[in-house]
Subunit: 298 residues, 2 copies
Amino acid sequence: MPAKLLLSDALARIAADVDSMFDAMLPVPDDARARLIEAMRYAAIGGGKRLRPLLLTATAELYGVDFSTALRAGVAIEAIHVYSLIHDDLPCMDDDDMRHGKPTVHRAFDEATAVLAGDALHAFAFEIIADPDLFPDPFTRAELVLALGRAAGMNGMAGGQMMDIVAEDESFDLRTVTRLQQLKTGALLGAAVEMGAILGRLPPEGRTLLRGYARDIGLAFQITDDLLDHEGDEAAAGKALRKDQAAGKQTFVSLFGPERARQQAQMLVDQAIAHLAQHGQEADLLRALARYVVERDH
Amino acid sequence: MPAKLLLSDALARIAADVDSMFDAMLPVPDDARARLIEAMRYAAIGGGKRLRPLLLTATAELYGVDFSTALRAGVAIEAIHVYSLIHDDLPCMDDDDMRHGKPTVHRAFDEATAVLAGDALHAFAFEIIADPDLFPDPFTRAELVLALGRAAGMNGMAGGQMMDIVAEDESFDLRTVTRLQQLKTGALLGAAVEMGAILGRLPPEGRTLLRGYARDIGLAFQITDDLLDHEGDEAAAGKALRKDQAAGKQTFVSLFGPERARQQAQMLVDQAIAHLAQHGQEADLLRALARYVVERDH
């Protein structure tokens, strides 16, 4: 199958699968918790590119992992991503009104519900991957939890978000912006690949090339985000743009200029694909994903 | 050792041990994440009764679990408790200025840092219990994660907090208030006992009596909280009191009246202790803890 078709099929399929799994796993209870679960569903279902679940399932596929098993782990990592967006959008954080073309959770519900819905999705992710009915092997469960916990915590996403707040007051150099983005978005993208490898029972010492792939597409993803933020269309993005610029934050675009930023992102994608050289066409989806990361328009 | 001395020794010891373990596990990094880790330390070190770690270690001790292993799991559950307090205190939630006799995290730092410090402590808890260097047995790690994730999530603490918000607008009956409290505080107290039993390799079918013990002291704890909120001293509590009353929320005291609430709490403590009848003096600390739950003055 041509690479573009392969990818668009895979994106459409993972979006539908993630939606139906969230739908099945988050039934609205007939009690006063209903509002919480409705807010979780509102944020989790029907939006987003589902890049992390796709990265996870595509990596797992390299090692012959059953798709439905990989999908469950993909839903767990997506739950972490969704929770981080809910909290990121709060008035005390980025104060965003729109996300994926609809009002943010604190706008559609209220701030307290948004805080709790984020917290509950955070715990939900760990409930999924620690469930022996979903992942029978205890060693796999424990490894998945560790990979996800580290990627989400102070040495991963939460640490990167703190640096991002500090970036409004301090002028970061390229090294610090790179570190910030490796934590803020790179850690969870890396965890997606790592979790795919864990499901594939690849030993840690065999994951070096895959980690390189994840690190490269993580940075390429962020540089492209900065470019889209700089030049993109708010309607296509479904959210407000050019807020970093207004806040005086250093980004890859402000540090490199748009032209060099674009070259840098393309170089990273080539490098990411080179990390997959030992694989045959079974890695074509991961290669197409790497290209998509810089070619997407939102 | 007389029960009171046993308990006061145990409370002092666990407080010191939990503090020093948080101190060791949360070093402040020399980068822009420093503010995040400082906020986590501010909330986690030097406050609170450490009831959950004590319940966990006292249960684990029944089955001869090494204290330092149990303590690590205790620090994980305390991290979840502390994160929930940080988020609970936020302006959009309970809007509290004081906690444990000092300004709340969003007061001492700012709201964004408080949201992130709570999120990072949440992930930190799972990083601890999924760490193979701390808990070598993968089955134990996976069981600990599942117990903690379920207790923290939408069917546990986060679900109870949502009900608590809804309680401001709806007049709950005794059955609903009981369910609310079983989720909001009972689930995590139950997880403390459950995690102690998991470390002790007690099979799930052997945990029924311990679960009864946890359920009873959980409710007794909450009834006593409501009594202290109704009659207590703000200085001793280190936080604002009588907010439920002002918000028109139903509590065990408003539903029972103070006299019957006190009797009910005492009855629950007797029942909790009866669940320990098969144990000898190795359960004296759990018995003393049950009594302390209703006798404490803050």
